[in-house]
Subunit: 332 residues, 2 copies
DNA sequence: AACGTAACCGCAATCGTTTGCGGTGGAAAA
DNA sequence: TTTTCCACCGCAAACGATTGCGGTTACGTT
């Protein structure tokens, strides 16, 4: 079952291998009718290029890495789908790596990418990643890196993310418009740029609506367990609370669980709104209102930027922001 | 930033490239002290082998495909984690593909694997895949295929799956032991071997406990919407029902949603048990009892079998069954 | 002293493509 | 008729590793 090679085609057509190669890639040195003939025969013989050989010659690996903190339930699914599509359409393969949300593993994986010689990296940081020094090895090797979703604002690497301020603002503003004035917000790790942006949006919405801001309204958790432990205190200390906001699906699901556990009703006792990828809200009952954060768009944009960087055709916008959209359900 | 090559090492050590190559791979022709020297210098110079060149020479691609119907919320996460680990530890890369649960896309992706020249394929079938003819192209090309999770029993390809009969039996038996005698089971597409096995387990548990079986107790759905539509009828037609069983996380989450939607309580009005990967049950309140189906084990085993097949060292067991475990929570 | 035999290592081909450069032919220009 | 100049194509050397085969040593055997 040996595959047809360029040499085989050359033999069949009485041409040289170089001509075949050039014809197949539309090199201007080759006449149109020769290109025609070559392509026809290539197709009829089911010629499939040997990517390994091509990669060897062109000093590439054909691999693009997508590094995520985890392969969690919600957000990443559509992101991966999008990345897969774009990557494959451009003749690359996507290898997915997960850091398990530890900085150590993230460093390890970056090393791995280096040794594997991937052609580009898309990276969503862990909550513990407070610097980008570990990426220098890639920068020195001229391997392009694009940060996405969980990013750190910086000047070395491009990043794709959503407008955190606006997204959180939209959610909180919706709550307020629905009459809620005592809102508690659940956020993730404060070291993440994303978290800070969303907190800013939270505050901005309050301010815009003339509602005084109380620092106790904003609570950050590193783990779900912290939230489990804190929840009873929160409802006790702030009994006037009528609504919860969560900045992610993971937090939302956990908050939902806790609200139910303590026998509260949604939306009667507490309203609930979240920033979400749109899957989890529909699993729960009642469906949860959310600001839709499309993983698909993020994945797609990140790939496109990365491919531009790899192929060096043009300089893409290095800092891009994906928009979001309010989805009203029954939880508010 | 050119990387160190074998030739560079050869130059440094006054040896030939072939000797370096052999020394690094512990070829018996090379003396121990030479191996020692070579390895030391290789390490100190941070030599990294060029996988592309190696793959070209050895006619491999270094790629292993993992094809899943979707990247759904629940089951696949740990499966992917496991596959990633094993694959990387053996010097391969994992490329993940998703069929979106359509047979057409599955065929397409198989073709893609063929043209990419992957070294092996792990495949979980779609619900619509009722034959394996599309895999013949891989078989002819001698590319090993391992089926996992959603399989079709056959003689051409090895498969790794869980003991569906026993797993469903365990769940139902637990319900019965807890006093439930009128149980309705929600299942997926009947064409899947998995579904039939689990139905068999369902029936077996009833029989073993001397409970008469009523065909209406078993209901198969191709889509969540079908279940949404059927649910009200079910509770009306079988008012004596006290418990629901679902054969997957997806069905379970949907059933949970419906039970809540129609204002029933869990476990007071209906008990709920499922076969699950263990994530979703803990998101919900109350936590859902389930029979734990470890995606990790399946992924790991499948990889190991595939690697055996690729490297041809030994003949692995071609038909393996992963065990499961009952996890009791508050929903029963 | 001559020979056989391991143990150890190098030569050179090979995997399938890409690509710089040089060569050919024929038509247009002189 | 000779020169010039494209348009088109081939030669051969890469890319970095693996591997069959053959060649050296150094040693023990007779």
């Amino acid at each position: 079952m040996k595959r047809i090679t360029i040499k085989d085609l050359a033999g069949l057509l009485n041409l040289s291998a170089s001509t075949i190669s050039r014809a197949l890639s539309d090199h201007p040195d080759i006449s149109d009718k020769t290109k025609q003939r070559v392509k026809e025969v290539a197709k009829s013989m089911h010629y499939i290029p040997n990517f390994t050989a091509k990669n060897l010659r062109t000093r590439q690996s054909g691999l693009i890495a997508l590094i995520l903190p985890e392969l969690p339930m919600f957000f990443t699914q559509s992101l991966i789908t999008a990345a897969n599509e774009v990557v494959h359409n451009n003749g690359y393969n996507l290898v997915m790596l997960q850091t398990n949300n530890t900085f150590e593993k993230e460093k390890e994986i970056i090393e791995y990418c280096y040794t594997m010689g991937v052609d580009g990296v898309m990276l969503s940081l862990t909550e513990k990643s407070d610097n980008l020094n570990h990426l220098q090895i890639l920068k020195r090797a001229q391997i392009p890196v694009v940060l996405l979703d969980r990013i750190l604002v910086n000047n070395d690497f491009p990043y794709i993310t959503i407008d955190g301020v606006k997204t959180a603002f939209t959610a909180i503003d919706h709550l307020i418009k629905k009459g809620h004035r005592n809102i508690v917000g659940f956020f993730g790790n404060l070291s993440l740029d994303m978290t800070r942006k969303r907190i800013a949006g939270f505050k901005k919405a309050l301010k815009n609506n003339g509602i005084p801001y109380n620092p106790q309204q904003i609570i950050c958790f590193d783990t779900p367990e912290e939230m489990d432990a804190a929840f009873p205190q929160i409802v006790k200390l702030m009994p006037e609370t009528t609504a919860f906001f969560t900045m992610s699906d993971t937090l939302m699901v956990n908050a939902y669980h806790l609200i139910k556990k303590y026998k509260y009703q949604i939306p009667e006792d507490f309203a609930l709104i979240s920033i979400s990828n749109g899957k989890a809200p529909n699993f729960l009952y009642p469906n949860v209102s959310h600001v839709l954060h499309s993983g698909y768009d993020v994945g797609q944009k990140a790939c496109e930027v990365l491919l531009e960087l790899i192929n060096g055709h043009s300089k893409p916008d290095l800092k891009q922001v994906i928009t979001t959209e309010l989805v009203v359900a029954e939880s508010v």
